[in-house]
Symmetry: D2
Subunit: 363 residues, 4 copies
């Protein structure tokens, strides 16, 4: 089936494999009249680029984006924006060791079972490179959200067992792990070095905080804002969990603690606390939207692992080559992008919520 | 916007408010020729019915389902099945204490901000009664899944801080909390009695295990099986988190532990462990699908809470009346239903995955 | 598959069979705050009611609509509106003559081939009674369109070979054929009497004119306003053709005649002519939207016809009972309803077309 | 909104403007395992290429397609197929005469009203070049349909007032007008020469015939096969009408003539006639599917026309340059492509129609 599109009014469709000619995305439903150039997008792609530290793959990806349609004289025209990144570094080296073998923790086996064929080069469609399209589209969504006064901050909350203890927004881009806590980042780096020397890999937790979201965005039943965020985030490879506000901790709490009281502050209704994470009944409640994603350890490790090949023979496999010992830092911008796309789509869908709004618009 | 539908090929559309005339669901896309009567559905509705123990509301809900269309001579015809439950107990008693006030932890404020109007009787559309439609539709999905050899077991894994320590499937329906561990159920009951005496409420964790799912179901990018499960489950009111397999624990693990090795067993490829929770790269991997949902404590508590009314005045509120001190037991069947709907839709969508499959079907 | 929903933001889902317990529709995405009661809807259902003249079936259908959800204190709340009409007259009389036989011109054979089962009573799901849901939903759309200054006039342009020669809007509701030309209506009535005496039936053409539609509604590529109107109208049973503006006549014209010149009138840009029928490049052009639907003759006739039964035996069939010799007059309000639903959905979708519009809405 | 996608399971998303860097399409949901190379697609693009006769524009379009993703070792992998054609001939010559003026019969004015900005070069997004994506995607659909025994023949039935009188399939590709009647093609050519000498343009009618479609494809209510065909065909620029089977003629007929009797032939149920055009109740009936599209005359003519500019000033305009005096011949392959995409999507969606089909598939 067609499973490469996301969003209803602001809709993205990604395409491309790790070692194909190119990857890209069609961003359809972008409101007309937005100033947009390749730099707006490139700066976000650069955040997911590898080779920025020893904990991310050394592969020299240029990942230069081209705008192929939908922008005229520097502005969006309302027609679909096609964004493409050529796969510069696609010299298909030797994949003979994995072409017939199902790597543990990867999608090799499930692709094979579903389709009976798979592009085994570099993970094919399930490669992290697929997220190039998401990030390119996310850059546009983020630019629009900012114009509406909505900002998103995303960072590594934990790398393996090392969790942040303080939050300093300025620190996020100061370390290659995107942690808002310099001391935790140091510890996490030591932990990662240990992983590397063990021929092993790590996971972690990404946290995202959205400020400025007006109340009432999202819908009450199946199109709840948090349900759509959950789908958006869980659709990113390697994400194994999603929680909003107090999340799994809320399950252990009691109502009198978990409920956020409403108070009046500067003549506005605000919540005294934010256990809800900014969503009540599937709609934004005016507080910051705060959610977390659990990322599993990179499945590619150079230790020997038991597996099976396509002919059903038991095999041992060692995966060498360029692999991030942790993908959390590079996934930060992917989580931010998917959040932005989801939020923007909800905002646009919300415009017809009331007769007053519709009447105002057309009169 | 239209936010009351879920699914693509097997699509459900729920409608109804807590104190309206009735609630229901349209189930569209049910394959023709399935034997179906009202008993098939009623037994699932009975599982979510209140009044089964002192921990669920005493409201006398009959909740008798009627099949209004789509079934002829005891079989589904392929046309939409309309299922309705009348609201027998809708004598709208006195709601004056909450009609102008935003209850903490509820969707009152967000409905007001979005729509400028809300049906305040019993929570209106965001009442737990909306799930009647989900469970009625889920009953049909579960019946079909069973015919395909797919079974779902769902239970309370934790009530507040009390977590199960053993798993005994037979015990699940032996206690009113749907816990598969009699000792834990006892402890949890004591904990809930304490909550009640404190005029407080509890949350918990629901776990769901699916057996018999073939490999390769779900899609690689945005329509990942786990992403759709996450949306389905997070769209249930009060759910604050979703995780699959090792979930948030995976974030602390290392690749060599988290990866599931493939082995050959009885000439079949199987996984030696199941940290993945049955999904790799968004597609089922042939192992059991195992996921969990975090449920927040019931927001309706009789303790006094600070809040604000629709005129912006600070107010104290005490919520009396029939309210579950914990909704986890009644939500078990809702989680199971949403899982079934998601899995079945994915199975039906998967039928056109390969040319061989399509050619076989039409030849 | 699920094929009973129409629309994206303003979405309707119909359900029900001719001789089931009831028929209905869920109208989801109605903006909140619209005054709505059952009378608003009933007056449209009464327009499609049979028994209004000797040319429509004598079946005594009460067709009283009930609002089951989505309206509170006389106003829409933004949640789905469930509308139901009970099948009062469902005494399933003797269908033995058609239960195993495929009636020519009906969907009996195609249902059988698709589903292997069919509710043969009164046409089942493909009965004209399915349009009750469309008309009930259309009534809501029309009420909203009027508030935006958009009016729709629909009428019979031809009954069989008898076409109108004059247009008098006031005459439309003066005759039972909904023709805007009294003389043509007289001729058409004589033609129909002849059909009846021949045990035969007639078709005709319905025309629809929309005034007040702002320019720029609809989308340039697949979601063209006229493409969506075509789908909406062709989805009505018995419609065999759709054309907009000059339609099939345009195919014979030349560019210099078919092009509508733009002129300035009262400081506004208007078209000097309206060969386009109010749509250019898939978007409304500010002129009246004018389209036509071709309706085939009622397939149920009492003449003997050759056909086949479900066991593959050749049979002769005579269809007696209550059948309109022409359905065109009763289909007028169905065409109007589907047009209204399509136009309203396009208007709501259009609200996010430009950055200026989005910024204005949220600031 | 996002309006550039079509189809549900087999979904295409087109992008690109006449004078942008490139145009293309993402084809998502293609079953895995289909042999596919660029030649399969190029032969269809060549059919819509201009410059094949004096009646189609002389613009030297290479229109070489590139497959950028979704094909591996010569076979489809089930992942989205990205197809791109570079705009070789995009030297944006002088558009100053139309950049501020609304051309009659074009979408200039409606784009301006909707978006407040438009890419005026060569029609931008509403250029006929947008159909490159449709034809490229259609080539894939047609290849699959053929494997299922389904063939589509499409041709010009009329050019302006000149209609075919005979049907000779072999003749279709013998003349540059794609008419299946050599004598009519001659007459039509003379008619077109006259149009050219009058600085005028012509329209026409395209007819499409599908053989081999199994019965029961399509759905009974909104997703009727003919409704989806109507949308598909009306979404092509310049199409003003759609009819199936006897279409508008059926409106004048009587039931006893219009009904197709069923008979047994070689132990199969067949229809004695085909007034229905192969669809009954929205589902294919096993006969040939036959439909027609009305194409308006090319709006670009070099005669002087009255119009208005973006500042509201009345202006005269003459449109010179490369323009087809008739687009019908080049639109033939576009109609065929959209038909194929619609039919294939319906076939794939139909696979879950019955429990028997689903059980067979998974057992």
């Amino acid at each position: 089936m067609a499973g490469s599109s996301f969003g209803q009014i602001f809709k993205i469709t990604t395409w491309g494999e790790s070692h194909g000619k190119a990857l890209g995305v069609i961003v359809d439903g972008v409101p007309a009249g937005l100033k947009l150039d390749e730099d707006d997008i490139q700066q976000f792609l650069d955040r997911r680029k590898p080779g920025q530290s020893k904990f991310t793959t050394a592969r020299a990806e240029g990942d230069q984006v081209e705008i192929l349609s939908g922008v005229f004289e520097g502005k969006t025209t309302g027609t679909p924006i096609s964004l493409m990144v050529k796969n510069a570094d696609q010299h298909s080296k030797d994949y003979s060791n994995i072409s017939h073998v199902f790597r543990p923790g990867h999608a090799d086996y499930t692709f094979w079972e579903k389709y009976g064929i798979r592009d085994y080069r570099g993970g094919g469609r399930s490669s992290g490179r697929e997220t190039i399209g998401r990030v390119a589209a996310g850059a546009i969504a983020i630019k629009i959200l900012r114009k509406l006064g909505i900002e998103i901050v995303t960072y590594s909350k934990a790398i393996g067992p090392v969790e942040i203890e303080n939050f300093d927004a300025d620190e996020i881009t100061n370390n290659s792990l995107y942690m808002p806590d310099a001391a935790a980042a140091d510890k996490a780096q030591k932990y990662l070095e240990e992983c590397i020397s063990n021929q092993d890999s790590a996971g972690g937790i990404i946290e995202c905080r959205v400020t400025g979201m007006p109340a009432g965005i999202g819908d009450p039943v199946f199109e709840k804002l948090d349900a759509n965020l959950a789908k958006a985030i869980m659709s990113i490879g390697a994400v194994k969990g999603f929680e909003i506000g107090d999340g799994f901790e809320a399950a252990k709490s009691v109502g009198s603690e978990n409920n956020d009281e409403f108070i009046v502050e500067n003549s506005s209704v605000v919540k005294a606390t934010n256990h809800s994470g900014g969503v009540l009944g599937g709609m934004s409640d005016g507080s910051d939207i705060v959610f977390r994603a659990a990322i599993k350890p990179t499945p590619s490790i150079s230790q020997s692992q038991q597996t099976v090949d396509i002919d059903g023979n038991q095999k041992a496999i060692e995966i060498h080559g360029r692999h991030d010992p942790v993908i959390v830092p590079r996934a930060v911008v992917v989580v931010e992008s998917m959040a932005a796309i989801t939020l923007l789509d909800s905002l646009l869908l919300n415009m017809s919520a009331t007769m007053d709004g519709v009447m105002d618009f057309y009169n």
